[in-house]
């Protein structure tokens, strides 16, 4: 029970949070955070546990978003039905893809995901009769309040984490880890590595597709450069995974939290601190500085990645004991 204590406290806090803090801005941030937990966890199952890094998770996210959006746009079917199809379409995209690329050893899979991302982005741009091309798809949001979305994504996040935990602690999880550690050894033990890599890919992409469909519902607008974005989705998914810690259940949650925090920290100019100083002292220097800081959130995240890979190669959760002892020692000596 003790092991589940912190996640439970955290979960209760999340349930209560929107009832206490009614500002939509914070609710929006937490919704995004939870969406990123879903994406990060599904990336982590593939990369952290099975050892197959995907550089193109946006491909699956975008497929899910388009599945929901197109059904609503062309047939008027409620985009919530699209949630189910979103996950399935993402898996349907992943299946032949994995079938082709998993037969190759080495870095091919990672590179091919990058290519898949670009292909789908261009395809969505070109297929104008179907997808409206660059104009994108606009649907009416179902709810005007943010609360329903908040609880839907909360349930989704909990389900994702439970699914990851069940998978990782079952026999399947051990197969995945054995493939990550040494594929040839796993093969010689009688594990059908291609099949288990496929299973890992399908589970992971299903949740990512679901998150994509949720995004469509929540934002009400998508276009190819948003949902197939290499920088803002594919790379961000990788970042969420490695900052939090690959191969850990709660790592992506920590990573997602840090990513959203860093993003907002920079975007709001250190929560308006610089602007406050600027107004107070009346000097233009602070105002320009705050403008600089606002445009630097990607830079901040890039630097964070470099530092994490160098200093905390297993992520914050993975290297938690290392961080704790270091901090503790520092406290003792000073």
């Amino acid at each position: 029970m003790k092991k589940n204590l912190y996640p439970m406290i955290f979960l209760i806090a999340l349930i209560v949070f929107p009832l206490v803090l009614r500002q939509e801005y914070y609710q929006h941030l937490i919704i995004l955070f939870m969406m990123w937990v879903v994406i990060g966890s599904s990336w982590n199952l593939l990369a952290g546990y099975t050892g197959r890094v995907s550089f193109g998770h946006a491909a699956f996210f975008g497929s899910g978003a388009y599945a929901a959006g197109l059904l609503a746009y062309h047939y008027g079917i409620s985009p919530w039905w699209g949630m189910a199809t979103g996950g399935l379409l993402a898996t349907a995209v992943a299946f032949p893809f994995g079938w082709i690329t998993f037969r190759l050893h080495g870095a091919y899979f990672a590179l091919a995901t990058l290519a898949l991302n670009e292909v789908l982005k261009d395809a969505a741009k070109i297929a104008e009769p179907l997808t409206n091309g660059m104009v994108g798809i606009l649907i009416m949001p179902t709810f005007s309040s943010k609360l329903p979305y908040y609880y839907i994504i909360l349930v989704m996040m909990v389900l994702t984490i439970l699914c990851m935990r069940l998978t990782v602690r079952s026999k399947l999880g051990y197969y995945f880890v054995s493939i990550r550690e040494d594929q040839d050894a796993a093969e010689s033990m009688g594990i059908n590595t291609t099949r288990y890599k496929m299973i890992s890919l399908c589970i992971g992409t299903f949740w990512t597709g679901l998150a994509g469909a949720f995004y469509m519902n929540y934002m009400g607008f998508i276009d190819p450069s948003v949902v197939f974005s290499l920088q803002d989705l594919s790379i961000a998914a990788v970042l969420v995974g490695i900052v939090g810690g690959v191969g850990t259940i709660y790592g992506p949650a920590v990573g997602a939290f840090i990513m959203i925090a860093v993003q907002e920290f920079f975007r709001s100019g250190f929560f308006g601190l610089f602007k406050y100083f600027g107004d107070k002292t009346g000097s233009g220097a602070f105002t320009t500085l705050s403008e600089f800081v606002k445009s630097a959130h990607t830079l901040g995240f890039g630097l964070l990645v470099i530092l994490v890979i160098l200093l905390l190669p297993n992520g914050i959760v993975g290297d938690w004991t290392k961080i704790k002892t270091k901090l503790f020692r520092m406290k003792v000596t000073t």
């Binding site: 870095a107 091919a112 990058l114 395809a123 600089f292 890979i309 190669p313």
Partner: protein
Amino acid sequence: MDVFWQTLVAGILKGGLYALIGIGMTLIMGVMGIINLAQGQLMMVSMYITYVLFSALRIDPYLSLIIAMPALFLLGVLIQKYLLNPLIKVDTILPHNQVLMTVGIGMVLTEVARFIFKSDYRSVSTTYSNETFFLGHISFSVALTVAFGIAVVFTLGMFWFLMKTDLGRSIRATAQDKEAATLMGVNTGRITVITFGLGSALAACAGTLLAPVFYIFPDIGAPFTSKAFVIVVLGGLGSTVGAIFGGLTLGIAESLGSTYLGMDYENIIGMVIFVAVLVFLPSGFKRLTKV
């Protein structure tokens, strides 16, 4: 028929420059076994160096090769020495952590460029930027033709270097078998640093040569990174000859695609070729050329 030849010529000219970026990436791939996903961003840095030299000091882009290439060589050396080599010793379960590091480096380079130059489109507009000459009915862009010529010279120079000099032989030995090379007295740590420097310098060369023809903006790096890795996979990972063929193939395919299918298809064609190669010829042209 003229349209076809025109397209072919444009493709070959572009392909020559693609090959230059591809060779840089494939060298790094061969020696370190990693795909450098910051290759296009390094190219972008050299484009900005060219831009600054041109707009501030009126230095001709082709002359600024002398400055841009050593500068990027140095940048590559620093990246390899202080960011990538330490990762070899790091104990982690994170797969491909060096590749992920290059992604981070690419992001930082792009954002630093955006910080300094904003997202505006810049151009190096020399007198010959838009000039063309005709051979028969086919027009040649002066800037691209000169760039192609210089690219060929550098490619041949690179070959001579890899085949005939001691350092080049050490690089090839390290690429073939790192441990055996170490046993033969090759300082492989130093070789990786030099190789990354060379790869960056080649990217710098391509960037400077392309500066008069392309608009320069911070995000130009990413598409070139993806082009470069398509070339590397096409040519076969680590194969220099393959990268040349890969670059030419991609250039020709792209320009045929944009002529006969439409501009939108330019990128998708490269990716379709890429997937086709993965499926039908996973070791790329290396299997055909044997080098």
